[in-house]
Every structure is written in structure tokens, then in C-alpha cells.
């Protein structure tokens, strides 16, 4: 600790502090422009000057290290004079064409940091500002980032943000003297300079030289609502900027969350999807009124193509939905109905869908896209290690792993903000990364060794690596001794996978295999990351079990910076599985087949739950095609466009007798639906999502539902209530049998009461900004950033010998599919 005096107050600061940071400790603000606490120091703008006793000239506090006995004045008359001069100089190179809508009309931008300090130091910006532009306004064709270098003050925050946050190095400060300017790449467009449009440079620019193109002239927000991004399992926090100039409000831009009391995975960082992908909220395509098919209103038999849509009021639509489902149940039993949830729904909604299926309808046929591409990733893991999720956390991996194996994941596109963290880990900590993927992925640029193996040969590849590890004696004996279950069988299988044989199967070289094994063995802990690239239906489970074996063998489980880490495709696929939107699992990963687990929910819900496991999504739909399933309730999954089985699914849906679809935008499935219930987007409702690292986070309603659309939890409850009061349906009244929720929070209470891993989570804790990763056992439990293997299997892991499947050429043929 170093003691110094600032404005007459003594402060103790750590040795690596700057005077600026020491002042902050005292609550003294020193004006800054080029400085940003998340970025490396630059010391270029000189606005942060302070007077230091004994020094001839004012000194820049953002780069001045603290030293013992330093006596500093931050607002002396001399300093103020100096700052004014600096602001005037900055302004002479600053030209504002007046396209910002500051007070409702187009005028000068008053909201940026430069203008703020000019106001504070009483420098007349209009007087000193440049009178004409030096550069074209809006000079870059990037669709999201607005570039107006006339407002640039050369602080280089964008240069540092792009390098140190996103890891793309698009910007540089080029030329010098009066000609100095910020340039993209080799003076090209941003996109040519490899920009990924993440908007980090925009978020850090203090003058609006870089701005959000979609909303440059949109004006000031009336309200700022923090929420969780809805795109991927990283679960970034972001802020919806809402303007109340239309009834219910509208989202005019998305900005970074600056509230540091809220634990977040992303800081100010976002990716292009989270920051700029919000236009769907106000899409003109939105379904805003409930619809039913005409035949349902007329009471006539269903025509083959289902006939005409009629817009109706909510009551009519909800009754039609409930009656159709009830009829199927009364005629054919609950197991004649299927429910399809989604990894895009909130936990509250997915829990209700689960309750709708198992309680109100009495069926275990409930699934989400999980069984199309996620379940193989987590099921194999649960079987092998007793954990169905990422064992470690994003920040733990980025800051503590010494090597990484990224396999079957296009990391920087699927989970961009985490991908950017990994880039920084490679650049700054120089950790070794192996990227294995049949095709080039962007993250492979940073790989110590990229591996391009043949598709679907991952099992052989991993077996081959383990063969080498055993051959070289690199295995972790302690871990093997701790988990002996199945090791001998495992060893026998791996023994067959000689490097030569594996090289032949995978198309990789023997040398590369040895090198990879050595990198992993000598740079522990290794974190293994994978995503849907491994989820081929025939090999997915085996791939994941092999990776579990690898981590057991290297002793990388239960340690910081290691672990097994499946990265699901959708933002809340983890939550969907947690909530029991799976045919064989109840909320909290308890098996339908387990009588005690069933009994608990039967007591809670006042009904009996069928003992027989339900059908996974694809089979559910084909059962509908074959007439065994008579009715379907679909919410949140664009099933026809996200599965490789599209053509078959179309026929199945077409054949299904009765289909209820809850949606915000018309999808292809609309054609096959009988009742359409308009739900809302993530900006119009509240609830929680659970990110891939098991972190439960809030979404907050920012605007009113559009048109007559209703929050989805309300719709599900409305349908369920109508079913339960319908003919032939009665349940016992118990603690959680009712559907009288008035808020999502009430639903969450029920989740917490019935799901031990969520037991200690509450909206109250989440609103306080707590970082809660399940299992959270009690209201005092701090959550579990590192999940130990064996959580769901009495502490035991199991070695699962996995053989490489003969390559099924049919299933690896290219298929038509749309990515969403």
C-alpha cells in the first residue's frame, strides 16, 4: 500500500494503482476521455491532468503511478485552465453535422462524453467546434456501425476495444500529426478489415464518431430496461432502450449494461446478434390476434387442408385449443397428445408446458429441440459423469484453463462473446488451444493446432488421443483410482485405437495425434468445449462419453479451468432441460421411471403421471404422422426449419388431427395449425433463462405486448385451466395443482419449491444482481460455479467404452436446412 494525498485527503492505494484510480477510491472524479477502465491505458488526450507538487507541468493521472508522499490537486485553477485549453483543441478537430435527435429535434449531439466535459468546464462547444467536415459523414457501409470521423478525437478507445475485447484488430491509428486518423484495416471498409459488427468500438467511443447505425437519429430513450439476451447460451446482460412515443413503447436501440452491481458474464461486451438483432420485436409480420380455423367455429369436420383462418377473440381461441386437446384426451387418453417446448422459452413457460403435459393432459410426450440436437450432448454426459450441463463456468475457463480442446463448435459464431474471451485467453495468457472440426471455423485461427478430421470420426479421434496418453503414461492415476467403474473395459477398447488406425479413420496424421496428446497432457488443466457439431444422432452420445473419458483420464474434472462443457445451441436449452421438457425427465433431472420422483410431482400437482417415458420430438411427430398421436401443442420451436427431417415432419404435421401453435411470427408450421395463439417476444414479458453455465438470469418486460398478443405463460395457464375445468377432467386440490398465476414470479416460486437444484433461487436474489448457478440449495447457498462430477450419480463417474461407428454415408449427406 502506498500513501499519497489528493486534494488534501490522504489515501492508501495498492502499488499498481494510478493516481486516477486512487482518486476514484476517494470518490474524486477526474475527467477522462481516452481512459477506460476496461482497456489498457493510453494517456493520449491529456484531459485527466492533475497538479503534482514539485512537478513543473500538469501530469496525466490515468498513466501516473501512485508513489509515496505524492501531493496531488485535481481541480486547481491551473489544472482547470489546462483542461479548458485541451477541450478547445479537441473541439477544433470535432465537427458535428447535427443529425442527432437530442431534444426531440435534430441538433448537435449533447450526450457524448466530450460534450459532457465541455459543459462541465464551461467551454462553449458551439464556438470552438470545427466549422466544416474533413471526412464524409457515414463513411463506412457496415450495416450496424455508423462511422463519422469528423467527431473523432483520436482517443483510440475503439482501437483498443476491438483488439482487447473482440480480438479483431480492425482499427488502428494511422498517419501522424494533423493527418493522423483512425483507419480500418489497410484503409478499407470495416467488413473488409475483418469486422464482426459486435459494436464494442461503438460502446467505447466517447464522442459518437462510432455509433449504432440503426438508431443514430432515434433520440434519447425514455426508459432503460436491463434484460438477458435471447440468442445464445452465453446469457449476456443488455439494456433495451425504450421510447414511449407509441402506446406501449418501442425499443430504439440496445446498449451495454453498465450497472456493475449486476453479476454478468459480458461486461460491456455484446455480439452482433444481441446488440443489433432486435428488429424482430417490432416486425410487421408479428401475429397480433388469435386465429382459429373456420371449421372449428362452424363445428364441421376438418377439411383436408384445414381451411380458412378466422381472427377471433382470445376466449374463443383458448376454448377451441382446450376443447381440441381435451377431446383427444377423452377419446384416446393423455398419451395421444404431444407437447413441444423450446430452448427459447423462459423457464417459467417451459415449466408450465411440462405441467400442462404431465398434469393437465397426462402425457409424458414432451420434448424440445433437445432431442433433435441437444440431448445427445448432455445425456451422454449425465450417464457418464452424473452432470447434465457445463461443469465449469465461462470466466473460469477463460481465466484458468491452460489448454483447450474445442470440438464440434463454431465458437466465435455460436457463442460469440465467450469466443472473444477465449481469443483473449490465447493472446494474453498464451494458452494452447486445439480446435477439431471437419471444416474451418474462425476460432481455428487461434489454434495451436487445428485438426480437420473426417465428419463423424470424433470417437476414433478421442480414442486415439487416449491411446497415446495411456501409452505414454500421462494418465491421472488418482482420478482412475477414485473412479474405477468400467476402467478395465474402457482400456481394452482404447487399446485397439492405435495412432496408425486412427489416422486412417480420421484422415489426420500420426504426428498431429501425438502432438495434440502431448499438448493436452502437458498443459493441464484442459477444458473441453463442444457444441452441436458433435450431436449427430448416431454418434453424439458416444462422442460425449468419449470426451468424459478423456477428462477422467487426464484428471481434468472437478478442477478450475478444466471440465466438460457442452454449449447448447439455443439460449435457454439448459433451462428447458432443467424444467423437464424431456420425455424421460421431470424438472430437476428426476426420471419419470423413478416412482418416488413421480410421486412427488403427483402429490404436488394432484394427479397421476404416466409411468411410461414419453417419445422424443422426432418420434412424437412421426407418431402424429401415423395417427398414434392425435393432438399437438407447439410453442417456440420452428421445428420445420431447424430439423434435417423437414419434409417428413411436414407430412407428419399435415396428418395430425389437431395442432395448437403458440408463436410470435408466422412460421411454416402455421400452415399445419388449427389454432394460433399469439405470444410475445422477450421484450414484452418477464421471466428467467438459464445459460449454458447453469446461471439463472432475469428477463424484464420493457414494452407492452404488441397488438392483442399475450405473455406466453399466461396463454399456457389459460389453456390449462380450461382443460382442467373441462368435461371428464378432475384433479385433487393440492399445493401446486392450481393454475392461478398472476405473475411469472409465482411460477418461479413453484419451480423453486419442486426443483431442488433451483431451490435457493428467487427473483429477489436475481434482482439484487447475484450470480446464481445451479445447484442453489437454499436461500443462503451461493450457487455452484464449479459442478463436481457425480452430482446426479452418488459421486461416481463411469468409464464408458465407445467404439467408432462405421461411417453412415447416408446420414452425412448434405441436407436442406435453414439456420435460425
Amino acid at each position: 500500500m502506498i500513501s499519497l494525498t489528493i486534494n488534501g485527503q490522504t489515501v492508501e492505494a495498492p502499488e499498481n494503482y494510478t493516481v486516477l484510480q486512487a482518486a476514484e477510491k476517494l470518490g474524486i472524479t477526474i475527467p477522462t476521455l481516452c481512459y477506460h477502465k476496461n482497456l489498457s491505458p493510453f494517456g493520449g488526450c491529456r484531459l485527466c491532468v492533475v497538479e503534482v507538487q514539485g512537478a513543473r507541468l500538469p501530469m496525466t493521472s490515468c498513466v501516473l503511478p501512485v508513489s509515496p508522499g505524492l501531493v496531488v490537486q485535481t481541480e486547481s485553477p491551473a489544472v482547470i485552465q489546462y483542461r479548458r485549453a485541451i477541450l478547445r483543441i479537441l473541439l477544433t478537430n470535432y465537427y458535428d453535422a447535427g443529425y442527432k435527435r437530442t431534444n426531440g429535434k435534430f441538433d448537435l449531439d449533447e450526450d457524448n462524453e466530450l460534450m459532457h466535459w465541455a459543459r462541465v468546464y464551461e467551454v462553449d462547444s458551439r464556438k470552438f467546434m470545427a466549422k466544416k467536415p474533413r471526412f464524409p459523414i457515414d463513411s463506412d457501409p457496415n450495416p450496424f456501425v455508423w462511422v463519422d470521423m469528423n467527431k473523432c478525437i483520436q482517443c483510440t478507445r475503439c482501437v483498443r476495444a476491438c483488439a482487447e475485447v473482440q480480438g479483431r484488430f480492425v482499427w488502428s491509428q494511422s498517419y501522424r500529426g494533423y493527418k493522423a486518423r483512425i483507419v480500418a484495416g489497410a484503409d478499407t471498409t470495416m467488413l473488409q478489415a475483418r469486422c464482426e459488427s459486435c459494436g464494442a468500438c461503438v460502446a467505447y467511443c466517447p464522442t459518437g464518431a462510432l455509433d449504432n447505425k440503426m438508431s443514430v437519429g432515434a433520440g434519447r430513450a425514455d426508459r432503460l430496461i436491463r434484460t438477458t439476451c435471447t440468442y445464445c447460451g452465453v446469457g449476456c446482460q443488455l439494456v433495451l432502450n425504450v421510447k414511449d412515443d407509441v402506446p406501449g413503447g418501442r425499443v430504439i436501440r440496445v446498449t451495454s449494461n453498465t450497472d456493475e452491481s449486476v453479476a454478468s458474464v459480458n461486461g460491456l461486451h455484446l455480439c452482433v446478434k444481441g446488440r443489433y438483432g432486435y428488429e424482430f420485436i417490432h416486425s410487421s409480420q408479428r401475429v397480433t390476434r388469435p386465429r382459429v380455423r373456420e371449421y372449428l367455429l362452424d363445428g364441421t369436420p376438418r377439411p383436408k387442408e384445414r381451411g380458412r383462418w378466422v381472427e377471433v377473440d382470445w376466449d374463443t381461441a383458448l376454448n377451441a385449443a382446450a376443447q381440441g386437446l381435451l377431446r383427444a384426451r377423452n377419446q384416446h387418453g393423455g398419451q395421444a397428445i404431444g407437447v413441444l417446448a423450446s430452448g427459447k422459452n423462459t423457464n417459467e413457460e417451459n415449466y408450465l408446458l411440462n405441467k400442462l403435459a404431465r398434469q393437465a393432459l397426462g402425457t409424458n410426450h414432451i420434448d424440445c429441440c433437445s432431442h433433435i440436437y441437444h440431448a445427445p450432448l448432455t445425456e451422454g454426459l449425465n450417464e457418464a459423469l452424473g452432470i447434465p450441463a457445463m461443469s465449469n463456468s465461462f470466466d473460469d475457463i477463460a481465466s484458468r484453463a491452460n489448454s483447450l480442446l474445442v470440438i464440434g463448435s463454431n465458437l466465435t459464431e455460436q457463442h460469440p462473446v465467450f469466443g472473444a474471451h477465449i481469443r483473449q485467453a490465447v493472446l494474453r495468457r498464451k494458452i494452447k488451444m486445439i480446435v477439431a472440426n471437419p471444416d474451418f471455423t474462425n476460432i481455428a485461427e487461434y489454434a495451436a493446432l487445428p485438426l480437420y478430421h473426417r465428419p463423424n470420426t470424433e470417437t476414433a479421434l478421442i480414442n486415439g488421443l487416449m491411446h497415446i496418453i495411456l501409452e505414454r503414461g500421462w494418465e491421472d492415476q488418482t482420478c482412475i483410482a477414485k473412479h474405477p467403474n468400467g476402467f478395465a473395459e474402457f482400456r481394452a477398447v482404447v487399446a485397439k485405437y492405435t495412432p496408425q488406425k486412427v489416422a486412417k479413420i480420421t484422415g489426420l496424421s500420426v504426428e498431429d495425434l501425438y502432438q495434440v496428446a502431448e499438448i493436452l497432457a502437458t498443459n493441464r488443466p484442459t477444458a473441453v468445449l463442444w457444441s452441436v457439431g458433435l450431436a449427430d444422432p448416431s454418434t453424439g452420445r458416444g462422442n460425449v462419453q468419449s470426451l468424459a473419458n478423456l477428462q477422467l483420464l487426464l484428471g481434468n474434472l472437478d478442477v478450475p479451468g478444466g471440465g466438460v462443457n457442452p454449449l447448447g445451441g439455443q439460449n435457454n436449452i439448459q433451462g428447458a432441460c432443467d424444467m423437464g421438457c424431456l420425455p424421460e425427465l421431470l424438472p430437476g433431472y428426476r426420471r419419470v421411471a423413478d416412482e418416488a420422483a413421480r410421486a412427488q410431482f403427483e402429490r404436488a400437482w394432484g394427479t397421476t403421471i404416466p409411468a411410461e417415458t414419453g417419445l422424443p420430438a422426432a418420434q412424437m411427430l412421426s407418431a402424429a404422422g401415423q395417427g398414434r398421436i392425435k393432438a399437438l401443442y407447439l410453442y417456440g420451436e420452428d421445428i420445420l426449419n431447424t430439423s434435417t427431417l423437414g419434409a417428413q415432419l411436414r407430412r407428419d404435421l399435415q396428418a395430425c388431427e389437431f395442432v395448437v401453435l403458440q408463436e410470435i411470427l408466422p412460421s411454416e408450421a402455421t400452415r399445419y395449425a388449427d389454432v394460433l395463439l399469439p405470444g410475445v417476444g422477450f421484450a414484452e414479458k418477464s421471466g428467467t433463462y438459464t445459460s449454458a453455465e447453469r446461471r439463472i438470469q432475469m428477463i424484464h418486460q420493457a414494452i407492452e405486448p404488441i397488438g392483442e398478443a399475450r405473455p406466453d405463460w399466461r396463454i399456457i395457464a389459460d389453456v390449462a385451466r380450461r382443460i382442467l375445468t373441462g368435461e371428464g377432467r378432475s384433479i385433487r386440490e393440492t399445493d401446486y395443482s392450481a393454475w392461478d398465476y398472476e405473475t411469472p414470479e409465482q411460477i418461479f416460486h413453484e419451480i423453486a419449491a419442486l426443483t431442488p437444484i433451483y431451490a435457493g433461487v428467487s427473483y429477489e436474489r436475481l434482482e439484487r444482481g447475484e450470480r446464481l448457478q445451479w445447484p442453489v440449495d437454499t436461500a443462503e447457498h451461493p450457487g455452484t460455479p464449479l459442478l463436481h462430477c457425480g452430482y446426479f450419480s452418488e459421486g461416481q463417474a463411469r468409464w464408458t467404452p465407445v467404439e467408432q461407428k462405421p461411417l453412415d454415408i447416408e446420414s452425412s449427406k448434405p441436407q436442406e436446412l435453414t439456420l435460425v
Binding site: 480480438g167 480492425v170 488502428s172 491509428q173 498517419y175 483507419v183 475483418r194 493472446l427
Partner: protein, 165 residues
């Protein structure tokens, strides 16, 4: 010095430069220097080629076009545009300026009809300004290709330039 460079020629120059100076970041300035020396300027494609040769992210070194451009544009001794057969540089720093440099510069501009950074239509001349060359004692100073001229007067300008075809 020529305006056109073939892909192969450029590759060869870069390869030789990297062999000579090494493939670390601190070799960038001499590598760019070699290219500028050989071609009279640094073609845009060269930046991408150098980047690909030097990049080793797993060593914590990630080089983008922006890094190279920033260096190449910073130093007056590099040009990012193709140049004429002969390069004329004049010193713009104060010591030369005050001993008659201003008049020499004016004369150069008039005689060549070029502003700094421009190349004549016939491809004969490119004019650059540069900062102090460290030989202020003989100022005003101009440099044509690799030849240095001191004590230049406006009158001498046309005689000096006549030597270059």
C-alpha cells in the same frame, strides 16, 4: 522502380525480407522498409501477405492489416501508393525552413506541378515531404532517390532534377 509488381515478385521480396529480418513483430519496420526499397512503395496486398507469414496467435502475437497499415502510414519514408520513377523528398522541419527551405519547396511545387504525395501523370516524379533528416547544417535539404542535396536554392532545383530522366 516500377509501377507494376507481379504477385510472384512481391512474394519473393517478402520471403527474402522475412528471412533476413526474422518473423517477429519487431521485424516489421525493416520488412516494410525492404519492400518500400524494392518497389518504391508498399502495395496493399503486401500487408496481407506479411500478416499471414508472421501471425502466430498461440504465441500471443496477432497481427492484422490495421497494425501494418498503422506502421506503414506513420513513417514518411514509406509510401502506400505506387510512386514515379524518381522520388523527390524535401525536408519540412524548422531548421531547413528558416534558411530558405520555404522558397525551395515553393519552387519544387511549381516546377513539378505536384503537391506532396502526388505522382506526375507521366510517371516520372513523386513528391514527398519528410521531417528532419539530421543534416540541418547543410539545409535546405532535398533528396532525390538516394542522392542527398544540401544548400539547395530555388535556382538549383531545375538543374538537380534535370539529371533524372
Amino acid at each position: 522502380m516500377s509501377l507494376e509488381v507481379s504477385e510472384n515478385q512481391l512474394d519473393a521480396i517478402i520471403r527474402a525480407a522475412i528471412e533476413k529480418h526474422g518473423d517477429q513483430r519487431d521485424a516489421l519496420i525493416p520488412i516494410l522498409g525492404e519492400i518500400n526499397q524494392a518497389l518504391g512503395y508498399i502495395p496493399g496486398e503486401a500487408l496481407g501477405k506479411i500478416r499471414r507469414c508472421i501471425n502466430t496467435p498461440e504465441e500471443g502475437l496477432f497481427l492484422a492489416d490495421s497494425h501494418l497499415y498503422s506502421i506503414a502510414s506513420f513513417y514518411h519514408m514509406y509510401s502506400l501508393k505506387p510512386v514515379g520513377r524518381h522520388i523527390v523528398r524535401y525536408c519540412e522541419s524548422a531548421p531547413c525552413h528558416v534558411v530558405g527551405g520555404r522558397q525551395v519547396i515553393q519552387r519544387l511545387h511549381d516546377f513539378l506541378g505536384l503537391a506532396p504525395g502526388e505522382t506526375s501523370a507521366d510517371g516520372r516524379w513523386t513528391l514527398f515531404q519528410t521531417s528532419c533528416l539530421g543534416i540541418c547544417s547543410v539545409g535546405p535539404v532535398i533528396v532525390v532517390d538516394d542522392d542527398i542535396y544540401g544548400h539547395v536554392t530555388p535556382q538549383r532545383v531545375s538543374f538537380i532534377l534535370a539529371k533524372y530522366r
